[in-house]
Homo-oligomer: 395 residues x 2
């Protein structure tokens, strides 16, 4: 076993400083150097800041063009998008939904909002996302098919959907996961909240499943203040998504008639205006995030005890959050690295608490989670702003 | 019986034209003639557009100062505010919640989100809100007390909360309703979504119940694009509201630990910036809305077959939406009035479909609803913009 490198916290801090400079830096800040100002002003001048307005339609159209999804429905945030996507995947009270233990809490919460139970599965180190092989083995060993549904033998509940998630922008092995979903009769909803601008081959993440989900929270690659979107290639699902997210109100000249329990999840036009301007800059943002990755990669190359996570082969990552993984033998230094870097003004953070360690989800069914348990002890996100050097100017 | 006045549609259209002028007018448009632009620019320049930022704190503080509520928590919209307020009033799956049949669908939907059942009760013509006397009689006749809880004898379910709503800005008889709530051991959550700037005596609506709710949707007296707020005088409930609306994440230097199933309901800083500028203008908006009411009142005075709704005695209404009530004998002319006014470019609309006529809620328990049934056939909202003549200039 390699001895612990007690100098690692200082060495990592120095490497970050060499790449991003000496001033304090947040983990991820938005950049508003495009037409944000013009579009917000146009939005105010039109007085259409709220539920009706041209920027929502335009943002949806621009996102469809960028991702290749046939239809996009803009909503109030990524959590709302996940909630409605799961409802549209027919997730019903009493169902189970497969969710990586290594994810942000919204993935599991969206399942709970549907009165279904998350069922946690393991990740792989290569992608930080769902391990398709382990998932297949787990389902083979613990489920059986009833009338075309996959049933958890231990709980008797139908496993209705799975929600692979592209962690920190790195695409998971979505094609292999899709194969498992198809073989076991499980709907696939793709949590692409962190992966706008990430591709598997030439295909954008979020467009592989029945439905996909994006987020435009303030810490994401582009932001609308708060916002999210539902992607789908299914026209009927898109129409249902728009209906459910706009209080299920029927079109009528003046009557207020809502034909089911709907949600107030539409994205305000004000936020969509910001999104349109941000989306125009996305290609430059992505180029800069890749340059930042390359600068970090040069600086961390050969460093003992730690590696910088790179995009999986065959994939293009948006490099939303740059990610370090400590070697197993350095695990005990994670908090010292977090302390040294944050004390020096470089905001860094660990992975999320694994879902089955949260009080709301301790009793949920789960596979063995050795890889997620290992990753969470070793992962550290480091500063990832789009305009950190060595960046190119925005257009 | 007075004969039907077939000229009424034309007469009403002419009266509206005399007050608001000859150009086409929406039902309610926002006005951005204050510091909206400055604050949005400041927000962009700070890069804090999302979940952190000074405008959210400021908007909450400014709303507390304006309404007199001890604590205010800004959220993503009024529906989210209602949902969380009901959770904080301990509304649990299987409970019933008293809701006026005459309300916007969000009031009932928020109950459904808690997996509780709305129980519809009647309104009074004087306020367009809950009829306290009818409510007391209904509860006396159909419920019994068990261990301090009010139980619906027919369903066996606990009636946990009631949600009186101040329709179109006119305060309901909240003190009498509060008396009923107290006598029957039912929590009161006040739906003040439409009544920012409306008072009972000197006390602002939304501050009478355990919790109150505001909305800043684009059609409201002030707007944040989309937004809402929870009001309460209870510090512990306010702290819980902030926690539940921000994913229930515990404060920590870097760990992501969520101690219960929370919601992503926080208001983005971008929207709060707009709200701060709007709130500065609220006194002028209220003055203008009152002047508009007075102009309509002069014009509609003495008109046969229709009356303009005025604020209940002892109350100050924000006159959010100006409201006509046709006399009983003119009921059949409602659609003709809606057609004539809308055809002439003056946007008008009827009341909402009563909640028990919506498919999701037809099976819910309800009192007899003669007044709501009558009002809904006779009510028409007419153009109510803050800057319609005879307005004073914004500051």
């Amino acid at each position: 076993m390699t001895p612990r490198n007690f100098a690692l916290p200082g060495v990592i801090t120095e490497a970050i400083a060499d790449v991003v400079g000496s001033r304090a830096v947040a983990l991820h800040e938005p950049s508003f150097v495009g037409r944000e100002w013009d579009y917000l002003k146009e939005c105010l001048d039109s007085t259409f800041v709220s539920s009706v307005g041209k920027f929502v339609d335009r943002f949806e159209g621009d996102l469809a063009a960028f991702t290749g999804a046939k239809r996009v429905v803009a909503v109030v945030n990524g959590t709302a998008a996940l909630h409605v996507a799961l409802l549209l995947a027919d997730v019903a009270p009493g169902d189970e939904v497969l969710v990586p233990a290594l994810t942000f809490v919204a993935t599991a919460n969206a399942v709970a909002y549907c009165r279904a139970t998350p069922h946690f599965v393991d990740s792989e180190t290569r992608t930080l996302g769902l391990d398709a092989l382990a998932l297949r083995e787990h389902l083979r060993a613990t489920t059986e098919q009833h009338n075309g549904h996959c049933v958890n033998r231990a709980t008797g509940r139908v496993i209705r959907a799975m929600v692979p998630m592209h962690a920190f922008g790195h695409p998971c092995d979505i094609e292999a996961v899709l194969g498992v979903a198809s073989d076991f009769g499980i709907a696939l909803v793709e949590d692409a909240a962190e992966s706008l601008g990430s591709y598997v081959g030439a295909r954008h993440t979020g467009t592989f499943g029945l439905l996909g989900v994006l987020s435009f929270n303030g810490n994401k690659t582009i932001t609308t203040g708060g916002g999210g979107a539902i992607l789908t290639n299914d026209e009927a699902l898109a129409t249902r998504a728009k209906h459910l997210t706009t209080t299920a109100k029927k079109q009528d000249r003046w009557e207020f008639f809502h034909d089911e329990v709907g949600y107030n999840y539409r994205m305000p036009n004000l936020n969509a205006a910001l999104g349109c301007a941000q989306l125009e800059q996305l290609p430059v943002f992505l180029e800069n995030k890749r340059r930042l990755y390359e600068a970090y990669a040069r600086r961390f190359e050969g460093m003992v005890g730690v590696e910088l996570v790179r995009e999986p082969s065959g994939c293009t990552s948006n490099y939303w959050l740059q990610t370090l993984l400590l070697k197993e033998e350095q695990v005990k230094l994670r908090d010292a690295v977090l302390e040294a870097t944050n004390d020096a003004g470089y905001m860094t953070r660990p992975a999320w608490t694994l879902m089955h360690h949260l009080p709301a989800y301790t009793e949920c069914p789960r596979a063995t989670l050795p890889v997620a348990e290992s990753i969470v002890k070793r992962l550290i996100n480091i500063p990832s702003n789009v305009l950190l050097p060595p960046s190119v100017p925005a257009p």
